[in-house]
Amino acid sequence: MKQDKRFKNEINRMSLQMPAISVNEGMARAAVAAFCAQLSPDATELADIKCAVSEAVTNCIVHAYKNRKGKFYITVSLFADRTVQIAVQDKGCGIPNVKAAMEPLYTTDAAGERSGMGFTVMENFMDRLHVTSRQGKGTLVLLSKRLGRSTEEE
């Protein structure tokens, strides 16, 4: 399996568990960025990762638990080929229709001034985004990015 081969080349891993409170949005993205610095990302890559993590974590806090008590879980794996893989998981309400939720501008919380761009940001700022969810069980967001490939227009 492809996954197994990659797993052997994993050079480091970090797991975090935090209460789903909004102050941890900044904490989580800073912690992930600090950990990813081992792979010497350039400034753009690091900013992309921070933003994607911020989106995933904010969704746990705002949507999964709807500001009720809960935790989110982050695992960051670094691979020898300079791939960063980030899993952000919650045990919240889940997403009934993942495909619809991932559409740009889709939001279930228009009253909260959301732009509905969170998943679009994750998708565009990372190489890969994979979302699995079960209603009443929770959501897993998998993000990955291979460093050193940016064809940045900037």
Partner: protein, 119 residues
């Protein structure tokens, strides 16, 4: 002179209101920032609101929601909102959202402290 608030500075001249934002705009900070900006806008009722973004170090989609909300509020009171000096990071997310197409944006790529017309 700018009057210093805790996360933004304000300067007023006739119908112009320049607000310089600091730090990071995420969901955590957006709640109070939104309330404070709206209170200010409704008190001053400017025709032109310039949001100086040059000192913003981080912004995610919560920032897009925040900017969109203030854009609408300014329309509601018969004024316009202008984004000033967004860095490349902010431009990237504004472009992605499509907001860059209809919002007035000035001084793209300008360096933070130089040519500060509001000083």
């Amino acid at each position: 002179m700018f009057k210093t608030e805790y996360h933004f500075e304000v300067k007023k001249r006739d119908w112009l209101l320049v607000v310089r934002l600091f730090g990071e705009i995420d969901h955590h900070g957006a709640v109070t920032l939104r309330e404070d900006l709206d209170r200010l806008i409704l008190k001053e009722r400017p025709r032109r609101l310039v949001l100086d973004l040059s000192l913003i170090e981080f912004m995610d989609s919560a920032g897009l929601g925040l900017l969109m909300g203030r854009y609408r509020l300014m329309q509601d009171i018969g004024g316009v909102m202008v984004l000033s000096r967004p860095n490349q990071r902010i431009m990237k997310i504004l472009r992605l959202s499509g907001m860059e197409r209809f919002m007035e944006i000035e001084g793209v790529g300008a360096k933070g402290e130089q040519e500060d017309e509001a000083r």
